[in-house]
Symmetry: D2
Subunit: 345 residues, 4 copies
């Protein structure tokens, strides 16, 4: 049983960590911090927790939390995590950071998209926390950079064909759609029910900050630098990301052969499911679970591979994957606490 | 470990039973029947189950299922269960019936609202499966009649004040609102997305079939016959029931005293939570869990008690409560497999 | 053709006035004010208006607007309108105020629920702008107090039976449900998509500020002071209010007779529709229109009358009714600009 | 004033025609047919029409309807229209057909995707009813084939750059998302509220029947045969289509230059609006209106043009465009009856 601290515990990913960890047999949450709600019971901010936890949000310093927690999740905004992570690492704690601060290996690239990096010296040691690609490294890591939600769906969707050199890396387009929880719990007009319900729109077309992270990992898979078109959209649902991905085929294969490639690639993976040929996943089948479901086909008419991948942005796209990483870093079976089936309907 | 059969396994309550039982450490589902989908894997009808179960729907007879299952859930339409339950009971199996067939103690009352009863001789032995009121009887039962979704929310909302004689039984009004999953998975125009989304309506005003069940149980609590006004409404959500209940006070108490009464009444209950005075529950806090959350206040201006109770209609209102009953009937700790926190947001 | 000014034009009711007035053949909007968006084109704040109006929000003083507009809509928060209305009236302009400031005839009652009233001397002249009850007075009015959204649905639902003395005034309960646009466009956590979608809750139970307005008008209809139980709920829809109203019968009539009474009472009304006996209205049938639809039945078992009334809270509950009042005050046919059919599906 | 018949009037597009035509000053609906609802008042099937029309659905033969209607809308399934249109044309009536039966100029192409064509002799005379491209031909037409909803959004989105030869025709990808009303009002599991709400999925990937229609018109614009990748998705909204379109630039231009091209191309168009550079349209801005809103940008990093276009699938994608065509064919001003602003929020 390890003692877990959640630094930044009152946002949607923070409370999702707490919810999932309540069902984890090897971990116990001993601290959840929140500046805004310091002193307030979690069950008052989120009544769903009433009767399930007596935890009270605190405003404890990282030094204090490091004093009694073994494992730390940083659920903080970009730019804040980089100031906290070194404190926990120095104190000998293991850290999964859910922000973007340690995802980009190249400090200059980070700074081009996000702003100044004040802990660039730790970028070398941080491991990109996508277990399907970096399981062994994560097992050894002290600091894991939990992937972004969009990147998780896109990288898992493309890994088999990029590594197999089946597609032209210059041709990749990712048309992604995310639920509203991706925007967090900050009150803003664009996130109001009346603005989101019944609507749908693209945003940050051609300039979303997840782009360098996606390109970094796709480039490593393809063995060459990559530039992709990535268009995020805001879906009128609470949870879930669906990415529709297009790439020009460089090999003449059938849809069935593509499915075989994907099934082979993910054969041992507990959280990736590949649909039968001709089938495509629905968000509904993964919302509430840690699964990434992938459908793939070949459009012979146009010579393109079309891939659809879906995840729950708060679980496989954030808190569930963070716990998967914690399991690996702590020597627990990887699925511990995560044997979830989507809540359907 | 008991072997469980789900008779009628392809509707929303059937698949919810299956989902919840996958997380139950003492039960294993060995059969799920479906006329429509016989021979089809569950994971094909509901892709959310892919990788979690290899179960295939069958069209096995009750006699066959009784041959290899220890415990049976009947998730069948009203009028069908009454033909099946006796077969399983005779074979020595325990049964939780999720239909209305064994909820009404008086066969004549059943027939007035539902139609002919062909197994009236079993009504005497069936136990009404609301653990908060009949825990000891359920422990001894062979046949438990799982309560209706609306009745669960209304009876739990009123039990403390009716038993305490705080309100006038003739004054009770229950204004209830249910999500669309309550209508099941049968394709019909009124259940289409385009008809439900953005809409809201009352239906079966003054003549919903849950009325006799509600009145039977409230009357037993009040110690006298009761007639209530019960108005169901269709909410544009997938899951959840919220009942707003009004009753004339016959005792001059404060909201705080009412909260104390409710907390005392439900002190030992694992699945009923009472809000602090001045607070009322949101559906969102229970959807995905087996909780019933209750808020209560006193409107001094009008001398009325106002109670709001919420449940997930597919869990505490159906499949979760059915498992709670199975736990009691099988000697398992009552919360086994049900330590759920609402999926939020 | 009259020149119209909208004072407070960037909220949901302000933009709805603008939308509806674009289709009004006798009115032209010449000013829409907004502190927040002064200098910004309406079509930038609300792109739906692109190509339909060149209007730019201004921060003009009421004196300035009074200089070039004939008719003023005040779409301002409670407490602000009372400072503006006298300026426009003194300048000889006619005013429809959409706030609560002039709805309560008794200044003391206003102050008990809202706070200090600084223009109490005008309460005597303000007319309550419910055309179905005060058509002749509105025709003569300089200052009309546009009714609240909840009150509109409840008063129209009860007027026929209260005036006919069919029900016990002390027995009235109004269980009302409103869409999220009723909360306005201010960014706040409780109005976020992720907090509202899939949820449902009661709020301000027993203490909503619309209570005195409802009781004032119901009391006038009943000919005696009234206290009602009024419980508002937040629906996961953008627009619409549905009120389910309960009252004890004091006369033994059938559902059919009740329908006849309602049809008689509203026979000449262009915007009230009464459902056939046994039918109840759906929000969907009025959203996008100025209609109030009413269904009524008699529950013989309990001796109660049950009434369901629905409106679009932004139209009949606010901006549509305001234009209906403008038509009356300006001598236009009452339906001018309002011949709308609900947008369905 | 012309007399209009709607053949197939009880589906979503049929009732939308009726709703829009109630606000049309030059047209009066004299017949709406429905096999299912023959003899039933429209206002009973769709209570939103109560008080607005006394029309009753009939099962009249086309010959009968041709006897008293001047102008016919065929809102029938594919394959049925082709049997009806010739009857009306022979009787000297003008027809707008909302099915796919007369959209594909090449009978062989039609038959490859839809099945046998029994009125191929009329394909030569039918005009493709996209006024932005074929206004003059529509003015002269007796039979107009109203475009599909997806094709409308994609063709309008691409017309300026294809005609200007700015992009590589072989590179075009259209990732489209449609609301649930596109599936019509037939009861089927996949269209149930519980299956659609909270979900999102791609369907008919690489084989949707709108593909040949889209490619026919894009090819004519580009001056060469075209094959595109077209992926439809089902959005959890009632109305609206958003298409995100990608194409490889063959000319080095800026986003601003692209906006200028689009604004120039659509300068005289009453129903196409082009967003300022850097802005993209939201479904919410067009739902309830006949507008097509288009945003366009250039992704310099990848050399791609990215276009987002939105329409209301039931209005500009069906019934509104049909009325626009009726206006052209009847000599009315093109905007007659269609000066709508989106219903927002």
């Amino acid at each position: 049983m390890i003692k877990v601290g959640i630094y930044g515990g009152s946002g949607y990913t923070g409370q999702e960590l707490l919810r999932l960890l309540l069902g984890h047999p090897e971990a116990r949450v001993v601290a959840a911090t929140s500046r805004r709600f310091a002193g307030v019971p979690v069950s008052e901010v989120y009544p769903a927790f009433s009767g399930r936890t007596d935890l009270v949000y605190t405003d404890d310093s990282p030094e204090t939390v490091a004093g009694f927690a073994d494992f730390i999740f940083l659920a903080l905004p970009h730019g804040v995590s980089m100031g906290m992570a070194p404190i926990f690492i120095r104190a000998g704690r293991k850290v999964v950071d859910l922000s973007a601060d340690f995802r980009i290996r190249d400090a200059a690239a980070y700074e081009a998209w996000y702003g100044r990096h004040t802990a660039a010296e730790m970028l070398g040691e941080a491991v990109y926390g996508l277990p399907e690609l970096y399981r062994d490294e994560i097992r050894q890591a002290r600091l894991t950079a939990n992937p972004g939600c969009y990147p998780t769906s896109i990288i898992l969707g493309l890994a088999p064909v990029l590594r197999s050199r089946w597609v032209d890396p210059a041709s990749v387009i990712a048309d992604s759609k995310s639920g509203a929880s991706g925007a967090g719990r900050e009150p803003q007009i664009a996130s109001l029910y009346c603005e989101v319900d019944g609507g749908f729109k693209a945003y940050k077309v051609g300039n979303h900050r997840h782009t360098p992270e996606i390109e970094q990992e796709l480039g490593l898979l393809a063995g060459r630098e990559m530039k992709i078109s990535f268009t995020p959209h805001l879906l009128p649902v609470k949870r879930g990301i669906l990415s529709t991905i297009y790439a020009k085929m460089e090999k003449d294969v059938s849809a069935e052969e593509a499915v075989v490639l994907y099934r082979e690639f993910y054969r041992e993976e507990p959280f990736v499911r590949v649909c039968p040929a001709g089938r495509f996943p629905d968000l509904s089948s993964v919302v509430g679970s840690n699964f990434c479901d992938i459908g793939v086909t070949v459009d012979k008419r146009t010579g393109r591979l079309i891939i659809v991948s879906v995840i729950d942005n708060l679980i496989k796209g954030a808190s569930g994957q963070a716990i998967q990483n914690m399991n690996l870093m702590s020597g627990f079976p990887e699925e511990t606490g995560l044997p979830l089936v989507a809540l359907y309907p």
